[in-house]
Symmetry: C2
Subunit: 1016 residues, 2 copies
């Protein structure tokens, strides 16, 4: 056995090494590509890996050997890696890096120091449970440096140096412990503070607050415990506000706090050094407290990210009328307008601005109160915006007339502001287009396409308790309407609508199915109790650009009783609900919505030239299109879809699902009749009718796309999806018998030859016989696991006449459009291929039809390709590429098979999986890179081994999700295909991917140089 294993490993190991799971992340793949490009040659992956190792080693070395705290103050920073200053967020955290930067830039910042965020800290604090040995000695050295800068002294009874202690990771994480202020106060220093500030009340109030904060944040005592004592004190003193308490009251409070804490076995140490030590430890540990874990999960921040600790000299905005504190933005974060924005309070501390006890003033009014400080603030913040090349969100304090900047960071902004700021900064020449593109979160591009709830109304509704809960935000946008529980009811309710009068309905279902399409079309929004982000309702919702909240598991939907019960509240048919598909929130009653201007342009209700909003939006998208390597195509089945795709300048149609075209009320009866037919000859007349309809569908796709590629997928879903299941649904179908064609069935099968037949005419017996037939066929077609059943190419192979009909429809449409002088570029895509022979079978049918039609109409070019959505398709992509001229990853299905996660059922364990950290994100939403992603990579390599110019795209829902788009870029795909309204998001993500990769390339170049020099 030993010998054999040995014999197998030489080649095997090499492959295995190349396929190591940890290589299949966007970052590693990009790194490999970049390394390859800058000339590392064949060993690129391993060179990249060795660089990675070097980096980790350096990081580890630094944390163990190098001083683990960096002072900032007096215009200098101790943090100077590689000799040159660089505000390194990875090491110092966002907040820390900016404090160091501001200090170096000569901006007045209270001095302090940063304990960096490193693997070592993580190890010591998270895993080992204690601070690194010797850390406090270093900390005390830094404290001395602060003391030297301020002239105060930590723990001094006369001029006590107080500190704020704050967390600050690479990414902002509000879920983490944030801040302890006034650290260093104790029974003695409080007296010194009173003296120094010449304000006894201020000192005792600070002490009281410090005890509250410390006991809560560091000692873990619940807030209520001390708050209650405070409330009692106010009641006993007959006052309403804290500010009305006297010095004595506050002194009493401090004593009572201490007594209470003692009772609980907790204690705020008097020793200021011990206070600091505990606070530092608490900040470090808070990186993985429960809230932080939830926050990281919700915002897809890696679990490994830990916080740095910033210890900074306190300054006080509450030292009198020449003191103040405030927050602001260098531009308006709601609109993006270039205006000074923010608020402040005189003679106050930061807390007070938030607490809402006093009403803060607009920042502009600071000019009136403290003109000098105001001018200084304007000057400083303008510099900050230039320095950081982005809009800044800052905090400041004015202590006795002197301005201190406490924090600055890139300002979060609304989607609208993001677009405006990006365009403005480029036009001002302040930043490059690349920087502008990196400033907008891809997802923000979609926010601008959906109606939103009026933010003010929403706040009111939440206060009023009208928020019923939160489901999965499946398709963004806000919708309001009366609820209906069946597609019919929605159609009925909206039947008499005119162009000007629309009845707004929310379709509420346990889950939707293809029968509900008409109702979904007519509804304003969709709410389902079950299903995940790729459930039918979610897919169709996104497809239609219709707000949808799915998996709203708090609700019990009783479709029979036509009620939805949420907790103890029951809503019935006709009641009003408001749903927010962007957030997943569901509200009782109506909340006013604001329409999307861009959507109005895209849908032709507003002219582009009348909408500057649209113009700026398209300007950004134009930059993105220019900057991206990946093309962005559209998943579009209908004329309406392609028009939207065209408005967003889609570079092709990557997926037109022909089966969606069968679900119309005028079409489905033919489909059903076809399915009920038993021989190809019986099927033919129905196929002919479907052919005519499909042809006209395809004509409109080709006409709009004008020579851009249009990829049409042959039939995919199992036939039973087309058949009605219940008696009522069957009867409904049968009653459309006279307008359509089931009658032909009847003629042959039941000997009836009348042209139009109703139930009465037909007679009960025959009616029931026909109903039975449908049910029997439905039962025959029933499957235990339809997702792995008789669908996709399997249908085409067992029903070759359907493939032939579809090929004919496509080519006839192409000829019709080409005859009008419009160029056409049809691509035929065979779904669910796992075996090359499947594709061969279908290709033969298609090429036969093509050859036959070319004889009649002359030449027309087309391409034939396949979806890669069964794992076997990916594993044997080299064989499949012998026949396929293009691949398109159907990641909706590919991930289901690869993970064995049924999209309809996985909801039950995906949530606990994410909670337990087993998976980082829902794989139905983001591509599972190490698993499904590795298989995709393999398919790309194998496919291009056979056919180096193989065009490869993705048309699963992931094609419109930013992290997945970046991964597709890193895989070297040619395009992503997304729902029309996801095109802007995909395009932005594609542009950012390429920009990020080039930045990695720059980094690598530098590292390589360092390595080369080191090895000399």
């Amino acid at each position: 056995m030993v010998y054999r294993v040995k014999a197998r490993t030489v080649e095997g190991r090499r492959v295995a090494g190349l396929l190591s799971t940890d290589k299949f992340t966007t970052a590693r793949l990009m790194e490999a590509r970049a390394a390859e490009r800058i000339g590392f040659g064949a060993g690129a992956l391993s060179v990249a890996a060795s660089l990675q190792v070097q980096r980790l080693e350096t990081a580890a070395k630094r944390s163990f050997d190098v001083l683990p705290a960096y002072f900032f103050g007096d215009g200098r920073s101790e943090f100077r890696p590689d000799g040159g200053f660089k505000p390194d967020k990875d090491t110092l955290g966002g907040k820390g890096a900016n404090l160091h930067s501001m200090t170096e830039a000569g901006i007045s910042v209270p001095p302090g120091f940063t304990i960096p965020t490193t693997e070592t800290n993580r190890y010591f604090v998270q895993d080992n449970g204690q601070l690194p040995d010797g850390l406090m000695d270093v900390v005390m050295q830094k404290v001395e440096m602060v003391e030297a800068a301020t002239g105060n002294k930590f723990g001094d009874e006369d001029r006590p140096q107080l500190f704020s202690v704050r967390s600050g990771a690479k990414f902002s994480m509000p879920g983490m412990m944030d801040t302890i202020l006034n650290l260093g106060l104790n029974n003695k220093t409080v007296l010194g503070l009173a003296k120094a500030a010449n304000n006894e009340r201020f000192a005792w109030d600070s002490y009281r607050r410090f005890i509250q904060m410390f006991s809560n944040v560091v000692l873990g005592v619940k807030k209520d415990v001390l708050e209650e004592i405070l409330s009692e004190k106010k009641v006993s003193r007959g006052v309403k506000n804290d500010t009305e308490l006297t010095v004595d009251d506050l002194k009493e409070l401090v004593a009572e706090y201490k007594a209470k804490l003692k009772e609980l076995g907790a204690e705020v140490p008097q020793d200021e050094r011990r206070q600091l030590e505990l606070a530092i430890e608490a900040v470090m540990k808070s990186s993985n407290n429960e809230r932080a874990i939830v926050y990281k999960r919700d915002f897809n921040i890696p679990k490994e990210i830990v916080s740095a600790v910033n210890v900074q000299a306190m300054v006080f905005g509450n030292m009198g009328e020449d003191s103040a504190t405030g927050v602001g933005f260098t531009r308006n974060p709601e609109t993006g307008a270039n205006e000074f924005y923010g608020e402040f309070l005189s003679n106050a501390q930061g807390e007070d601005v938030v607490a809402g006890v006093r009403t803060p003033l607009k920042l502009k009014r600071l000019a009136e109160v403290m003109p000098e400080a105001y001018a200084q603030l304007r000057e400083v913040t303008t510099r900050l915006e230039k320095f950081f090349r982005n809009v800044q969100d800052f905090e400041f304090t004015i202590e006795r007339g002197k301005l201190y900047m406490l924090q600055t960071r890139d300002g979060k902004r609304s989607a609208q502001a993001a677009v405006n700021i990006a365009v403005d900064l480029v036009e001002e020449g302040a930043i490059t287009i690349e920087e502008a593109l990196m400033m907008i979160e891809p997802e923000q591009m979609s926010h601008l396409l959906h109606p939103v709830f009026d933010p003010e109304e929403k706040k009111v509704a939440i206060k009023a308790g009208r928020l019923l809960g939160q489901g999965i935000n499946a398709s963004p946008g806000a919708a309001v309407g009366r609820i209906e529980f069946t597609a019919e009811a929605v159609v009925l309710a909206t039947a008499n609508d005119t162009k000007d009068k629309k009845t707004k309905v929310i379709l509420v279902r346990k889950e939707t199915n293809p029968d509900d399409i008409s109702g979904m079309k007519a509804a304003q929004g969709i709410l389902t109790a079950t299903g995940g982000a790729t459930s039918h309702a979610a897919l169709v919702g996104r497809q239609m650009g219709k707000p949808a909240v799915v998996g709203f598991s708090a609700a019990e939907v009783d479709e029979k009783a036509r009620t939805i019960r949420i907790g103890d509240r029951v809503f019935k048919e006709g009641d009003i609900l408001s749903i927010d598909g962007t957030t997943g929130e569901v509200f009782a009653g109506e909340i006013m919505t604001l329409p999307s201007e861009i959507k109005r342009v895209v849908e032709g209700q507003l002219k582009a030239e009348d909408s500057p909003v649209y113009q700026r939006y398209m300007k950004v998208l134009g930059w993105a299109k220019e900057a991206a390597e990946l093309e962005v195509w559209a998943n579009a089945d209908t004329a309406k879809d392609v028009k939207i795709a065209d408005a967003f300048e889609a570079q092709g149609v990557g997926l037109a699902r022909t089966e969606h075209m069968f679900f119309g009320d005028d079409r489905i009866p033919y489909m059903v009749a076809m399915i009920l037919s038993e021989t190809p000859a019986e099927k033919q007349p129905f196929l002919d009718k479907i052919l005519a309809m499909q042809r006209s569908d395809f004509i409109s796709l080709f006409e709009v796309m004008k020579g851009r590629p249009v990829t049409i997928r042959t039939i995919d879903p199992p036939l039973h999806e087309f058949l009605p299941k219940t008696d009522a649904d069957i009867d409904k179908l049968l009653s459309s018998i006279h307008s359509v064609a089931l009658v032909e069935q009847l003629e042959r099968k039941l000997g009836i030859s009348k042209e139009g037949v109703t139930r009465d005419e037909l007679g009960e017996e025959l009616w029931l016989a026909l109903r039975e037939k449908v049910k029997r066929r439905s039962a025959e077609l029933h499957e235990a696991n339809p997702m792995m059943g008789h669908r996709g190419t399997r249908l085409g192979i067992t029903n070759p006449e359907i493939t032939a009909m579809q090929a004919r429809a496509i080519f006839e449409a192409a000829f019709a459009v080409a005859r009008k002088g419009i160029p056409v570029k049809p691509k035929i895509m065979i779904p669910l291929v796992g075996f090359a022979a499947e594709l061969k079978d279908q290709a033969t049918i298609v090429r036969e039809v093509h050859a036959e039609l070319e004889k009649e109409h002359g030449p027309i070019a087309f391409q034939l390709g396949t979806m890669i959505e069964v794992p076997r398709g990916g594993l044997t992509a080299d064989e499949i590429a012998l026949l396929a001229e293009f691949f398109s990853f159907g990641t909706n299905d590919l991930h289901q098979y690869t993970l064995g996660f049924s999209r309809d059922d996985a909801g039950k364990f995906i949530a606990p999986y994410i909670d337990k950290g087993i998976i980082p994100a829902d794989p139905t939403q983001k591509i599972d890179q190490p698993g499904t992603g590795k298989l995709m990579w393999l398919a790309v390599q194998l496919g291009r081994e056979t056919r180096p110019d193989l065009e490869i795209g993705i048309c699963g829902e992931h094609g419109g999700e930013p992290t997945s788009v970046e991964f597709c870029h890193a895989l070297g795909l040619n395009y992503v295909s997304a729902s029309p309204y996801r095109i802007p998001v995909a395009r932005m993500a594609a542009a950012q991917a390429w920009i990020k990769e080039r930045r990695i390339e720059d980094e690598l170049r530098k590292s390589a140089k360092v390595l080369q020099e080191a090895s000399k």
Copy 2:
């Protein structure tokens, strides 16, 4: 884009090349392993590939350049590749190779020549549709050589040389065109033949027969056409037999045949050369005629295999009483006894032996009739057996006292004969053990384990029209019994059985489910209308060693009416059916069965020492065990299973499915109660009871296996499988309430505290409430695609208390057994792992329980591993191997996910897929090597990259299927685990795999030498 693609290909292409789909076959993998072993080093795969190319090139060169026909006769053969003689079946076909061999061995064979089977022939005849240019010139040269040997002349009017023309591929294919005799006869040569044979009737009868054969086989005229004329002739002459026709009758017949053929536009050429050309072409084309294609498909012969053509001088056994013809075996092919076996007819042609007009005599009586020829025949056939080192199946003709051997080949034999012959030949010193092992088809080892229908009775039944049809042969063996349609009915029917009186029942169901287990246990056999080879009925049938025919689609089963309709015959409850699980046949009424002696020993009904049959069987298995690299373990859940496994010397238990242990009537109520519980605390009492049961199950496994590894899998199926679905089933469960524990539920939920409750006692209202509860939970747990739902490790993660309970049961059992001084080797296997983190979660639970119990009981070792059955598990095997100490491929599921083929649904398209040649075999039965197999290879490489000594096995049903076992060997697995009764098959396949691989290695050594010398 171009640049990027280029940048990606360097490493990517290398990997892709290594992963080319065509490398993932047993033969290529074995070749690679062998090449590696003999020192080709790292480039082994490519060296092997280059050898392959060289071989193909050589073959192609030979077909174009070298004489494409080889003479044999006069004690010599023209076929001498590599200088030395070698009967090469690949080139000459089986029949041809043996004719050449016999000739060279000095045995009297009529001279002739062989046109070899080559790619060239295939190309010219199959694709191009015509014979290679110049072939007929070569053929005529060979004809001249035959003429020189016999002294006759082809087409001569005096001493015409006649030929037989026969097909003969590498594998015997009865589906192909077989033989044309008497070729060379025409209006003139018939006269010569009459003269030479001094028998006019013989000559004209030969001519008549030749026209019939030629027109049918070469010209494609239906047999009936000329047969009809023959019949009419007999009627008009008032005779019954052909032999009664006169010479004139025969002459008339020839004329009438010709006239009829002319009428049909067909004609037997008079030109003998043209006859020969057409016959050769027909044989070549027959390699891919419809029958051959079906045959190849049914017997898994590669499509590419084509036939050689053997043209041989005719000899005649019908030249008088000193002539004869016969067939025989060197040993008895039914029993294996060393006795001369066969039959002959004096003065007859081969045809007559088959036609049954005259009754042939036993071969031994030839000694009386022609003692000299008999002695010669015995001598020759004894030499043949020695020469070919195997029992021979031969044909001979005695022409005027002279013996000619017409054919010899390895004799097909029954399973019993195969074992006996193998043992005898080894004991006689005639062959090596290795050769003996290669003589037995692995599947034959299983035939000896099952009762079979008495062959005579079966023939009678078929003649009487009692054969009702054929389903899928899911679990071998014959069974007879009255039919019952529910498990209850079976249990009821067999309730009063005693040790001596057994009621035989066949359980007939549409399909079975876990509720049917008790009925399946009590039944003799299982017949289902739906389902495939891995359906529940098939799996459990094989597991229990119980005959099962599944997917018997000709039947309509009405479980309500308790009838099964097959065509227009209806069988009702109590009627007798006989089913043959080895063939899939279903018969009306009773057919006597013969029991398997080996099975009686294995199941303890007969002592091993009293059964020579068993001893010989085990001797062979012992050889196989010795010869194999792969170990063979057992899938065994119960004490009964492991005892059988032990009797077959299983080297371990590779899969003990704990959930099967939950399905007993005394257990399932606890399971249901557990599932109905809502909190871990509520679950605990039920878990405790299940724990005790599981512990005792495990104790019996450990006790039997005595220190061999026992791999126990934690719970796998979705919980809804445990819940009853219909009211009746729920009521049945509820009525067992007083004997078990659902009452505890009632106590808490419904406020009832009575210990034992019946429906009456409980009252209707509460009964219904409880029933509703079960149904509601069932509905909650319902899944759209249960195969990809909440099962396997996902259950363990969301229900950690189940994993903990199972771990505790395993360890407690291990301690209990170890305390008795019996060594134990428990292995815990977590199913359905796709993410390393899943395994980590479960491993943590298991290790916690283990640590806790070790504190109490002292140390006990165990291993923790996982099944690889989700594609993602295979793709990320490097990560998973960080935690897993062993892998076991669950190929039942792995292939489902990899192909997207649901085992319950794929039946609908697998048959048309095989028919259309899209897949070569049912992937549920044989591992799909290029797809699923590639993924397995990847998992092996990745897993052993992390953990070089990783133990890897397979426990899917494929572990007992010969081609899959060979593939597992080629992958380098450590063991296959099979159902107990499949162990002998697996062991034989494992031994053969290693022998085949070493033979490949020998071949490679030779080829390498040739290559090395050529490159000098």
